[in-house]
Amino acid sequence: MAKAHIELTINGQPVEALVEPRTLLIHFIREQQNLTGAHIGCDTSHCGACTVDLDGMSVKSCTTFAIQANGSSITTVEGMAAADGTLSALQEGFRMMHGLQCGYCTPGMIMRSHRLLQENPNPTEEEIRFGIAGNLCRCTGYQNIVKAIQYAAAKINGVPFQEAAE
């Protein structure tokens, strides 16, 4: 099958490429664009490690073809920090709240919670847990991931972060 020409934006940069229609978006991002932040976890659309932001949606890039993203704008975890390396509020939250252990799920967690906070800047704990229900973490038990997102929400809203009493 002939390769197809696609044009899209990744982390603000215009990208042109030739892809086989069957190339999955995660393989395109990791292997053709050399952006290895998004991970392949389960490869079956369950775990969310491959989550990227596509035109304002969190999508599992293991279950999307690169060619479907033709004309789209994608953000990966590499696009989250500022150009000078300053961490985004979410990245800072994961660091400060110890929101990761092995780190494998973290890029997906950050990209999903990025979109969650865009849509709901002041979520309850329940809304956070429901909002990241498509992302699996096998290390943390999620407690500190939730705190990391609460930390980021507080920072984005300009209010002091207070950990809930346990």
């Binding site: 197809a4 229609p21 069957r22 479907q68 969650l116 229900a133």
Partner: protein, 288 residues
């Protein structure tokens, strides 16, 4: 996992999509959100030679009111359904059901049309559409025809859709103001298909049930419209005796497969439990 090779098409109109599907025949599949089809392609259970992506067809998106009906474009995503004020006001059971489908990422991509047309008995929309008395608009080379959701499903993955036809819209009669509703779904974890699920829509007046409709998910190789069970509720106060009778009638029409979700007998019983809970919650929500 890498899917087999295929050619990709992105038509801009329904007419172009239908023309492509007619021309390419059995080797082509329409692509909606892709979260059922792409996993099947990755395991090579599906090996279409052509994918006709419907995402660029603007006419297939959106929710509008038309007469006494709500009309939902087939490519409207579950995420959009959940956020719709019109549906929240007129058909809140669609939001309740959509929130129980898959997970947030999949709901951004997954569409009502894909969920309804795929013919997977595990999907949640088919039984809900049967419960609501929806009809499907199927567009093919000879124009548009309407098929009732209650007539659409023939067996697992076999539906009334002909080659070259696309489900383009779903038309749902708006239930009366003050109706009670509930979708109850038992699942092992977020993202799982139902072990069993039940959709109930009913109306109450003077303490009695004046109308009822019931759909059951994933307890047969098609969704089930439990007409007799619903009839057993009408005219009652939805007391225990009435619910017992409806539950028994609903359980009697199930024929679930035994799978990782449990043996067939268990899933039949869970269909009854889901129906009882849905009916009780619908009653509590109904304006009397």
């Amino acid at each position: 996992m890498i899917p087999g090779s295929f050619d990709y098409h992105r038509p801009k109109s329904v007419a172009d999509a239908v023309a492509l599907l007619v021309k390419l025949g059995e080797d082509a599949r329409p692509l909606a959100g892709g979260h059922s089809l792409i996993p099947m392609m990755k395991t090579r259970l599906a090996t279409p030679e052509h994918l006709v992506d419907l995402r660029a067809i603007g006419d297939l998106k959106g929710i509008r009111e038309e007469g006494g009906d709500i009309v939902i474009g087939a490519m409207t995503t579950q995420h959009t359904l959940i956020g719709s004020d019109l549906l929240a006001a007129k058909l809140p059971i669609i939001r309740e059901t959509s929130l129980l489908i898959a997970d947030p990422q999949i709901r951004y991509m997954g569409t009502i049309g894909g969920n309804a047309a795929n013919g997977d008995p595990g999907n949640d929309m088919p039984a809900l559409m049967q419960c609501l008395g929806a009809s499907y608009e199927l567009t093919g080379p000879n124009g548009v025809r309407r098929v009732a959701a209650r007539e659409f499903y023939q067996a697992a993955y076999f539906t009334a859709l002909e080659t070259g036809e696309i489900l383009t819209a779903i038309r749902i009669p708006v239930p009366p103001v003050g109706h009670g509703y509930a979708y109850e779904k038992l699942k092992r974890k977020i993202g799982d298909y139902a072990t069993a699920a039940a959709a109930v829509v009913l109306t109450m007046s003077g303490g009695k049930c004046t109308s009822a409709s019931i759909g059951l998910t994933n307890v047969a190789d098609t969704p089930l419209w439990a007409e007799e069970a619903a009839n057993a509720l009408v005219g009652t106060a939805l007391d225990k005796a009435a619910l017992d009778k409806a539950v028994a009638l609903a359980e009697a029409i199930t024929s679930p497969a035994a799978d990782g979700r449990g043996p067939a007998e268990y899933r039949t019983k869970m269909a009854g439990v889901m129906l009882r809970r849905a009916a009780e919650r619908a009653k509590s929500r109904a304006k009397n």
